[in-house]
Every structure is written in C-alpha cells, then in structure tokens.
C-alpha cells in the first residue's frame, strides 16, 4: 500500500519543468500503464461500505409490496479490519394475497438468520465459525421460506440477499429481483439469474429479447419463496467490485430503466443515497408501473 502511494507520488515528480521543445516523443501507453491512471483508485482504510437505498410504490400500484433491508458495519481493532454488510431486496408477488406481508416477512427472517449465524458469532469472543457463509445464506433462505408459509400463507416473494464480508460478497437469490456489479469502466454485470419463465425461454432460444419484453407471461416466476414445491436458491460468492458498486433492485427498476440509464445515474450521483433517489425518480418518470426498491453499495 505504502509502496503504491510512493509510486503514485514518484509518478508526479519527473514532470518536465517547461516545454522544452516540440520534439517530445509520445507512444501509446500500455494496458499496465493506463490502469492506475484511468481509474483513480480511492482507497480508504479501513474499507467502507457506502450505502444508499431507495423505495417507491410507483405510479400505478396502490400498495407497496416490496421490502428491503440494509445494514453495514465496520470492525477495526488493529488486527481485524472487517467491513460487513447485509443487503436484501424482496418483491412480494403482485396479485397474490399477502404480497406485501410475504416480502417483509422474508426479509426479516433472512436478516435475523444471517445476523445471528454470522455477525453475532463474529463479535463474540468465541470466534469459531460453524458454518460457511454459503451455508448460512442457504439456511437463511430456508428460514425465510418457512416464515412466508407461516405468516403469509398463499403469498409469494422474490428474495435477493447479499452478505458482504471482507472483500467477498455472497449472494442468495430466488425470483427475478436482480443484483448487478457496476464497474466505473461502463460494465453492468448482472450477477443473478432471473427465475422467470420468459427469461428461461430466451435462454433456450425459444424467444427473442424483444418478444420477451412484451410477452404476456413475462411476470411469471418458476421459482419464488412461498411456492409449495421444494427448490434451491442460487448461492454464489464473488469479489466485491472495487472500485465499483453492488446494486440490488426489484423489477420495478430494472424492468423500466435500461442498463445504460442506470449506469449514468449511478456514476454521476454525488453519493449512493442520491443515486438511489435519482434511480427511483427516473423509474417513476418512465411511468412507474411497479413498486421500486433499490440498494446501492459502494466499496471504498
């Protein structure tokens, strides 16, 4: 780290004092040379999770059936230096009974389980990890499922949960809410897979993207919390984009704004909270057909 800063500082030293002549030779910079200068790496220690959230009922629905949860913390004690975050978005299923209850119940059950099985043991002096983070996430989804069946019978919900520990993010995902990695170079990478019927048909080459967008069954999920058949959530772990953002949102956002629009808003906002407000406003300005929930996490 220190070496890196030194290199950065050294880089500035040999600045030519004056424009010596017009014969300065130039050459295209190599990839390696470009990397450190194109993205000014802002590294803050200890590492931060800068978070914004946004939510809106939208312009066409009467009730908000989305739910979200966000918690971020840092423990730094000279030996450990650990950012920790839990971020969850759930989209209660439109038309279902108890839609708004289902999403809230699922989010609470999931958050409670993650915190009790990973966060509290970590804070306790008995620092012994009993299950892997992926196991915690998988069992958390089981808890959320049971909670939905119990407290919102007949209801259904999507659930996209992210657990950030250190430099890794572990995701659990059911349904068609989405998690994205947003990189400053313009890449928007969808890291979850929509469990939607229409999306599957597109994957199989049976439908085109254009057909999918207007397909009458585009809201049908083949996997969701509350369903009676057993299912497995998608669980995976990735390095957090750094520099970059983790974006979690319901289809009220990603179904309305293009990736380009989302990218523009995210990268031009002063901070993640303002970015989230602007994202929600833009979705509403585009008609706001559905509830909108969004969490944006910047890893600094």
């Amino acid at each position: 780290m220190i070496k890196f800063l030194e290199r950065l500082l050294n880089r500035q030293k040999p600045k030519p004092s004056g424009n010596e002549s017009g014969f300065v030779q130039t050459a295209p910079l190599s990839e390696e040379q470009l990397q450190p200068v194109t993205v000014m790496p802002l590294v803050i220690e200890p590492a931060h999770l800068l978070v914004g959230v946004g939510q809106s009922v939208g312009k066409q629905r009467e009730r908000n059936e989305d739910a979200l949860f966000s918690l971020s913390s840092i423990l730094s004690d000279g030996n450990v230096e650990l950012p920790f975050g839990v971020f969850i978005v759930a989209d209660g299923m439109g038309g279902h009974e108890h839609g708004e209850i289902a999403s809230g119940v699922a989010v609470r059950a999931m958050a409670e389980f993650i915190l009790s099985r990973s966060y509290l043991p970590f804070l306790s002096m008995e620092d012994r990890q009993r299950s892997s983070l992926q196991e915690v996430m998988e069992n958390g989804v089981v808890q959320a499922q049971q909670a939905v069946v119990r407290y919102a019978p007949g209801g259904g919900t999507t659930l996209t949960a992210a657990l950030v520990v250190g430099e890794q993010v572990t995701l659990a995902h059911v349904g068609d809410s989405r998690a994205y990695f947003v990189y400053p170079d313009g890449r928007m990478q969808v890291v979850t897979q929509d469990h939607s019927l229409v999306h599957r048909l597109v994957e199989l080459g049976q439908l085109s993207e254009q057909e999918a967008q207007v397909h009458p069954q585009r809201n049908v999920l083949y996997r969701a919390l509350g369903q009676s058949e057993p299912f497995r959530p998608d669980i995976h772990t990735h390095p957090m984009p750094r520099p970059g953002f983790l974006l979690i949102c319901s289809d009220g956002l990603w179904g309305v704004l293009s990736e380009k629009e989302m990218f523009q808003i995210i990268t031009s906002a002063r901070n993640p909270a303002i970015a989230c407000k602007n994202l929600v406003d833009a979705a509403n300005a585009a008609g706001g057909p559905d509830n909108i929930s969004v969490i944006l996490v910047q890893y600094l």
Binding site: N79, L82, F122, Q134, E135, E167, Q168, T170
Partner: protein, 600 residues
Amino acid sequence: MLVDRYLIQEVIGVGGMGSVYRARDLHFPNVVKIVAVKEMINQARDPMVRQTILHNFEREANLLVTLNHVAIPKIFDYFTHDERSYLVLEYINGKDLEAILNETEGFLPEDQVVKWAIEICDVLDYLHNHKPEPIIFRDMKPSNVMINHNGHVMLIDFGIAKIFREGQKGTMIGTEGYSPPEQYRGEATPVADIYALGATLHHLLTKRDPRLEPPFSFSERPIRKINPSVSPELEAVINTALQYNPTDRFPSAIAMKEALLAVARKTGILSRITLPVTMKEEKIKPLWVFKCEDEVRGSPFYDNGVIYIGSYDNNLYALDATKGEFHWKFPTEGAIVGRPIVYQDMVLIGSKDSNLYCISAKTGKLLWNHKTDGAIHSSPRVGEGHVFFGSDDGYLYAINLTSGRRAWRLDAGEAIRSTPFLTNEFIYFGTEAGDFLCVDYRGQIKWRFRAKRAITSSPTVTQGMVYFTSLDASFYALDSKSGWMIWRFRMGKGSVSSPCRVDNFVFAGSADGFIYCLDANTSKEIWRFQTDHQVSGSPVIYKDSLYCGSADGNLYCLDYKTGKLRWKFATDGPITGTPMAFNNVIYFGSADHMVYALLA
C-alpha cells in the same frame, strides 16, 4: 544439423519427395522446442522447371504461414539448400488415421469416426472460406489426417509436396482412390474436398482401401453391407458426400457438418462425441527418464533449462530439462519430499534431516544451510528477500536469503507440512493440528481458521479467496482478508492434495481416489474423475489440460473443462508430487525411482 539451427533427432516419415524429421530448434537453447522438418527434394532436371518449383514452394509456404487453425500445424520456417527445400512446422505427437486404421482390429467405432469427421469439416470450412481465395486441401485421405495425443484432428501435408511431384511426369494431383471425378479433369473446388472426405470416411468405416478398387466405385461397396454396425443415417451422409455429380453433394463443409451433427443427435452419440480417443498407454513415449536411487515423492522445479528434483535417496538432482542428463546432485542426510525453488543462483530445498539447504544452481555446492528442530516436508517459498517454510518442529521460518540467518520464526503449535503461499501482504499455511493461519511479513498472526483435522495441503490464494483441503475431507474456500469460510465441499475422504484454480474452476484430489473440479463461486461440483487409488498428488493446469498423478501409478491428462480422460501414462509406483509443466513438457517423479519428461 540444418542451417546451424535444427538438430535432427529422428526420421519420422519417408515419402516419395523426401523425409520428415523430428528436430530440436536450437535457437531456444534453454527449452526443448521440438519441431517437424519436412524435406522435399527438387528432382526436376530442367533449370526453368526447378526454378518454378522453388518459386511455388515459397509461395505456398508464405500462404501456409498465414493460416491459423487448431487443426492446421503451424509453420515456423522454410529454407532451401541446394536441391532440397525444407519446411519447419509444428511437431504433432500422434498418429495418422491410416496407421490407426491398420492397428485397429475390427472396425472403428462410429461415434469416433463421426467426431473426427466433424472436426475435419470444421477445418475444411476454415480453408474453404479463406480470403481472398479459398484454399482447397486437394489431398484428403487417412494418411493426411493426424490424430494428436489429445485426440484431435490435425491436417497435414498441405499440397506443398505436390509442387515437387509436378516435376515428375504423369502424376495426378490428389491421391487416387479418394479424389472425385472432376479432380481428374484438373478442377479443384471445395466440393472436391467433400468427396474426398466421404471417401476417407468410407475407408475408415469399411476398411476397404479405395486405392485398391476401381475409381468412383464406392456405391458398389455399400458401407452397411460391409459393416452393419454403422447407422443408416451416417451411411446416407457419406453417400451424399460421395455423389458423382458435384452439385448433388453437400454444398459446403458446414452443410456436411450439420448433417453429421444431425446423425450424432439421432443416434444418441452426440453426448459422447466430445470423447477423444484415448491413446493406448504404451504409445506415450517419454522424452526422457532419469533413475534415482530411491523413490521420488517430491515435485520438480524448472528453471532455465534445468529440472531440480529431490528423492528419497536423500539427493537433490539437477537434470538437463531437454535430455534428462545429470548435471549434479547434492546429498542431504534425509529424504526430500518438497519442491525445490530457484531464486537467482540459489536452489532452496528442505530435507527430512531438518535442514533447509541453499545450493548454488551452477555448481551444486552448498552456500548455506539452516537447521530446524524437525523434519522439513514443506516446500520453500521466496518473497521479500527471505525464504519461508514450515518444519515438523511447529515453526514457520523466515530466513534471510543472503545471510542464511533467521529473521524470525512463528510458533504455530504443531508441525507445518503445508507449503506457505505468499501474497503481497500475507503468508498463508496450514498445520497438522488443523489450524490455518494468515500472518504478515513481520510474523504477526492476522487470522486463524480451524479445520477438524490436519491441513497438509498447500493453499492457493487468488481473487481474494484461499483454497485448501484437509484430512477432515473438506475442500475449503476462505476469504483471504478475514479468514471467513465462504464455502466448504465434502469429499469422500481426507485430502492432502493442493488445489489450483483456473477460470472459475478449482481442482484438487482426494484419498477417495477422485480428482474434483468445483465451481469456485458456488462450490458446485462440475465434474469428478475416478482414479484407481488415492490422489495425494496435486493437479496442475497447462493449456486446456489438467495433469495429476495418483497412487495408482498413473499420470492423468484430463480435459480440465469436462474431466474427460485424454491419456494416462503408467509408472510402476505411486505419483505423489505435483507435475511441472513448461514449454509443452510435463515433468514429474514417481515412487518407481524415476523422473519422467512427457510431451504435454
């Protein structure tokens, strides 16, 4: 020796125009670069004809050098010496289809032939779509199709030899028997290659050599009449390719490939179609072997043309990587199980005699040694001017490379047989008590993780994750910063195998006899490959293959994406080390006392 550069090692083929040699390119003195050198003799008497032949040769060589396809050998060089012209090309370790056909008892399996045919269609499609002019292969026949040791098709003999044949009288272009009618009229079109491929496939499936039959008489020898095991679908495809009238054939190689794929789907062989031929074990000939006086359980290290490897005969050997010739050996007082490392002119290795030795790479003489209080199984790693290794005395050592003095040692509480992994910031290793530690370069513990049993496996750290296995039968992935367990995967038995990661795959062996491939992000199993005994060795990935030894005595070469066996090489003892891959050569030792070098 040719042009002071190519050292001829062996004649690998003799043709009417000259010979083909296996040679070593001496422009790469420190590595073994094996090439094929094709010699063509200009037999024309007339100086004008000679000149034309030479001119055509150079034009063809210049065309071939621009081709870029996996199934076409790369051209490295060409030159002419008196009446002999030479083409230097990629050496293919394999056999041609004619040889395979001759060696096969009974008929070749249909799915095998279909798989080859599809690959041939692919390369023909590439040639036929060459810009500005399509390239017509013109000489499709079994002896011009090589199957390399990974089971893939390579087209050889690109017309170039024919230039020299043109100088002779009355010889036709193309091989009689396989060529279509129109080629005899001097027409060469893409559909001519389709016909010749049909003829080749007919030969492969029926074992009836068309050169011994009247031209264009394939329809008189229906495939299924000779070999009833061939599906009617495949027969129909080949018959279409063999139509007398060019317009009745498949219009393109791609169209023929589609038809072959349809056959494969219909007959259900598509699922098996990625199966490459496994070369018979005895066909893999080592480049060299070297015999030690006892078992070789450690791992080799390649540096600057030299292989360094330790043995249970207590010696560390330095061998010439190209020929396996003995450079020097350094005697220790105990068995050597680790992998040496070379840093500048220093070779570092630990021994069961408790010492870490620093030896001059040039002379094999001792520079310094450092004594610990326990046997050393862990391999040394170098970073920040120090060498790091663990000892059975329970300490991790940091020794200054220049002075040989100890900078610090860290009490880990139990023997360390795992090899430390060094990143910019931290050092990672496991202990026999089942602890896994992350320490900084001052020897301060950053975090500790505990498995249920010993961690003998050496960790690999990449993309913020630490991977290792344990005798508790788990394959672990931890966050490298915090030590938090991200996932664990249950294997059938404990493991001492050290994982490696490529793309999104992580690989390791286990005492349950399997080599596992997991998705690094989800810990889902991608494939597992069963060997006949414990896999205590560790896998390496080189190009698109995984190489791993097993206690069953075999070195396995698998397609790392699918886990399909490409080949295996049998030794007479367990292979417990990690192979070293460098410049198309795989180096490893076996408990049969031998060090082997195989073509990758």
